[in-house]
Amino acid sequence: MTGTPAEAAIPEFPGVRAAGCPFDPPPALQALQEDGPLARVRLWDGSTPWFVTTYAEQRALLAHPDVSADVTRPGYPIPTPRTGGGSLSFILMDDPEHARLRRMVQGAFTVRRVETMRPAIQRIVDGLIDDLLAGPKPVDLVEAFALPVPSLVICELLGVPYADHDFFQDNSKTIIKRNVTPEERAAAGGRLFEYLDRLVGEKLAEPADDLLSKVAARVEAGELTRPEAAQMGVLLLIAGHETTANMIALGTLALLRHPGQLDLLRESDDPQVVAGAVEELLRYLNITHSGRRRVALADIEIGGQVIRAGEGLIMPNDIGNRDPGVFPDPDALDLRRDARRHVAFGFGVHQCLGQPLARVELQVVYGTLYRRIPTLALATEPDRIPFKHDGQVYGVYELPVTW
């Protein structure tokens, strides 16, 4: 298939995963990679942005100076209907504004800073596993372990009371669902915004040793408006728990379905082996399965095509991470491969700012859970597991396990 495909041949995005292949990208979309680096997909609103299938072209475009992440520009491929209004987080802005805001919180997520949190994260993980072992079984691993680990960590880091976890987890879940109405999504976003705004107010009155207090201090210094501060809190709270939680639960399911790979983790206490496993699971699972989205600011020649100024771009990292030219036998989960070049955290200046924290959390979890509960097993049939096909972030809603 060369040249411009017929209208009817343009596949829909997001696509549908194949039955029985819950870890693989939708086959109709992954197949586009064989036809070359650039294709078109059709979105919910009928628009047909470019779909960049290959690793090299995804990275080149995500790092391209004429490619914008500004969601308000015409042509940006919007994932779901929007109600408009409300303040935007900096992940949907371009530099210099994006850099200005991001740098205000980036210091809390440096590699060395996060490394100092490892013992506290280990204690959280050990405590939750103690509770699992002392409690009834089977148990839902999402509710009892996968969600609490990153929620406890981000609450501690931000200075958000963990007692409110039902509230922020439920609203986060609504925000990142694909199939809720724009009104429902906006209402959930509004509730979280109000909640964080109130917390920013509390930190202004009574600063503590946490990130939200540092953000509040920027408000006092006149460097940040209060709505910007609250919006930043919303972003960090959602991104800080929902993503890692999905990697924990989906990663555990993937390992249970690949027992030979699980054995590698269960039988090794080498931190390098565990760190490598985390990178490969990130590459293989790609919970952020809705693609990195951008719009071209100028004509760009790439992959034998010309992207015109104003055209939308989707860079599906799940498909870039299955590029056989970069990762041989890409559909195999192989914890021993060097997967460090993956684009699961995106690429370009918007690459995940919390990635050092995600890595340490996942290293502690994957390096502890299966060694402490070596007989961990699914407590349901694999085909009865509810996957987040309707989520902007992929994962499982429930994972009944026993041991």
Binding site: A56, A63, R103, R341, G348, H350, Q351
Partner: protein
């Protein structure tokens, strides 16, 4: 090998520190790159090359990589010094 870093471009993702903590660090206040060792020993060259290749912002240049845009090539990592 001579390394230069661009603090303006840097987005503080920390990939370089993860790979070569003896060569790169991050400023505590905003996570921006700090170059600890601009002329690393030969046994660090491969990992510095990898750090330059995975830097999402293209903020690291190692002088022996020339005539090619850092980050644009997928084969930098693992090439010999």
């Amino acid at each position: 090998m001579k390394i230069t870093v661009d603090e303006e471009k840097c987005c503080g993702a920390g990939q370089c520190v993860l790979l070569a903590p003896d060569v790169f660090d991050q400023r505590e206040e905003d996570g921006i790159v700090l170059l600890l060792e601009p002329e690393p020993a030969a046994d660090r060259h491969a990992v510095v090359r990898e750090a330059a290749a995975v830097c999402p912002a293209g903020a690291i240049e190692a002088s022996e990589i020339e005539a090619r845009e850092i980050g644009a090539s997928e084969n930098e990592a693992g090439e010999d010094a």
